[in-house]
């Protein structure tokens, strides 16, 4: 009797190779804990509570006069903007001649549960802006906000427009009711008062759950299959582990801040309606009258374009630009597209105004 197999031998060969790759993986690649996410050299120039203000060392002889401060998101850490030399947002802007500062919000503990929007906007962000103004001997700086960092930056600019020369809003969280992502669906049904009362800070585990409902099979299965398939591709593996390590490093969000963010942005949608208050002061988007550059990713499944775009139409600025890119939330800031298209366009716009 003939022993015939219906399966293509190549398929069997690939499966055996895949199994071998899983066994060999620990010998070929570093453990995520062994990887340092610090890439571009910088100095910590100010520390307040758990926050740190980073100043990146210049990579060019000449720099534009107006410094740029990046207000990173509250979810995960700032490292994604400097994830590796070839995909670093920070390094690219430094090479274009900009003076870059980054605000690292740090990792809040139970002690920080009473920190609210006011502390972040009029405390940490304002202190950073004032420090940079003093250090650079300038009256105004440029400000970039990414994701929820842009919500904080937006509130800040409406209260302190005199300190900001240019505003770059990258995937800003603005109009919660228009947000079509699954994150907004969960946020709208959340009893945030109960969560803050009982747990205090928003725990990272809850954020990991939110990540897991975003394309669960592509992100939860295919991504890891590709990792083991490409285990011998050093460049691919290095990039994969860096991004994975960044994804797994989510600090808690202070309870009071989280409560206001969920209620005012996702549940009551106060920001876009000009009904939000921070530290007793009214947030009026019309007070944003400086040049505005809004960057939106069409495939963003964390902050949908419909949630970000309304900022462009709500501000008082006359000089405003809206750019849409065919990528996702992270792709817009850490990919070859960001290096070849997003950052050159931003650099050109900012150079003309710095």
């Amino acid at each position: 009797m003939k022993n015939e197999s219906k399966f293509d031998p190549k398929l069997i060969e690939e499966m055996i190779k895949f199994g071998k790759n899983i066994i060999d993986a620990p010998k070929l690649v570093s453990a995520p804990d062994e990887i340092s996410l610090e890439v571009t050299p910088h100095d910590v120039v100010q520390e307040i509570d758990k926050t740190r203000l980073l100043h990146y060392r210049s990579l060019t002889e000449k720099q534009y006069k107006t410094p740029l401060l990046i207000s990173y998101a509250l979810i995960n850490r700032y490292h994604i903007l400097d994830i590796q030399p070839e995909k670093s947002w920070v390094r690219n802007l430094l090479l274009q001649g900009f003076d870059i500062y980054m605000l690292d919000w740090g990792s809040p503990t139970s002690m920080d549960k009473y920190l609210d929007f006011d502390d972040y906007v009029n405390g940490y962000l304002d202190s950073s802006v004032e420090f940079i103004k003093d250090e650079a001997s300038t009256e105004k700086i440029s400000l970039q906000g990414y994701c929820t960092g842009a919500t904080i930056a937006t509130a800040y600019i409406t209260l302190h427009p005199e300190s900001v020369k240019n505003y770059i809003a990258t995937a800003p969280v603005i109009d919660g009711w228009r947000d079509t992502t699954v994150i907004s669906n969960l946020a709208k049904h959340m009893d945030v008062d109960k969560m803050v009362e009982i747990i205090g800070n928003m725990p990272p585990e809850f954020m990991y759950y939110c990540f897991s409902v975003l394309k669960p099979f592509e992100q939860g299965i295919e991504k890891y299959v590709n990792f083991f398939k490409n285990i011998e591709n050093k460049k691919f593996v290095d990039n994969f582990l860096r991004v994975e390590k960044w994804l797994g490093d989510t600090p808690p969000i202070p309870g009071a801040l989280f409560r206001q963010w969920i209620k005012d942005i996702y549940q009551d949608n106060l920001l876009i309606q000009n009904k939000m208050y921070v530290g007793g002061s009214h947030i009026d988007l019309k007070k944003i009258d400086m040049p505005l550059f809004t960057q939106i990713a069409v495939g963003d499944h964390l902050v949908s374009p419909e949630c970000s775009m309304p900022l462009h139409y709500a501000v008082g600025s006359e000089d405003k630009t809206l750019k849409m890119y065919p990528t996702g939330h992270v792709g817009m800031i850490a990919s070859s597209l960001s290096q070849n298209k997003v950052l050159p366009e931003l650099g050109k716009w900012l150079a003309e105004r710095s």
């Binding site: 293509d8 139970s110 405390g123 699954v182 669906n185 969960l186 009893d191 099979f217 592509e218 295919e222």
Partner: protein, 198 residues
């Protein structure tokens, strides 16, 4: 004879348990006070609070189970529906690498689409919100039990520590405001000095 509802039965056992813990506590507290000299005295007097919390945990667990069952029901129904769609679109077993790749693509696309549709739906959001809410209530009971134990060991409770955190936060805000005012005054003074020198 009228049949008793599950709530009546729970209430009955709740009453029964509280009755006996109260009575035993009252009967035992006086002679017990003569012999107890350390933190266990406080623990004994707080045992009623712990038994009340345990009864309430039981009630919450029933509610929690209802929402967690619905949660897994929604997940498994979506899985079945998605698998049916995959079977219709790719009925044959893949035999080579190309077929395997396209089968994987179809499977992932259909499953991701169906699950995203579920996570985006009102019924999922509502049930998940209630499930988390019940989980938080269970945590609250656990916190309450921990507080009783902490107090019996003469340690501050979570609420007492929270009060300290709140006070520190308020103090920090006041100090920051004072520092800003002081800086403004210093700046104004140095500007005045410069003008006078000129």
């Amino acid at each position: 004879m009228e049949s008793q509802s599950p709530k009546d039965i729970t209430d009955y056992y709740k009453h029964l348990s509280l009755f006996w813990t109260d009575i035993i506590h009252l009967m035992a507290s006086k002679p017990q006070a003569l012999t107890s000299i350390g933190p266990m005295r406080a623990f004994a007097s707080n045992s009623k609070k712990i038994s009340t919390e345990l009864i309430q945990i039981n009630e919450n667990l029933m509610e929690f189970n209802k929402f967690v069952t619905e949660y897994y029901k929604q997940l498994s129904e979506t899985w079945s529906e998605a698998q049916k769609k995959v079977n219709m679109k790719a009925p044959d077993v893949p035999h080579d690498t190309e077929q395997m790749e396209s089968f994987k693509r179809i499977w992932i696309d259909i499953f991701d689409n169906d699950y995203t549709e579920l996570f985006d739906s009102e019924k999922f959001g509502e049930n998940y919100g209630k499930l988390v809410s019940k989980e938080l209530e269970l945590t609250k009971h656990w916190n309450n039990i921990s507080n009783v134990i902490l107090q019996s060991a003469n340690l501050p409770s979570k609420e007492e520590i929270d009060e300290v955190y709140k006070e520190i936060h308020a103090l920090k805000k006041r100090v920051t405001k004072l520092e800003i005012e002081l800086k403004k005054k210093r700046d104004a003074k140095s500007e005045g000095n410069i003008k006078n020198e000129k």
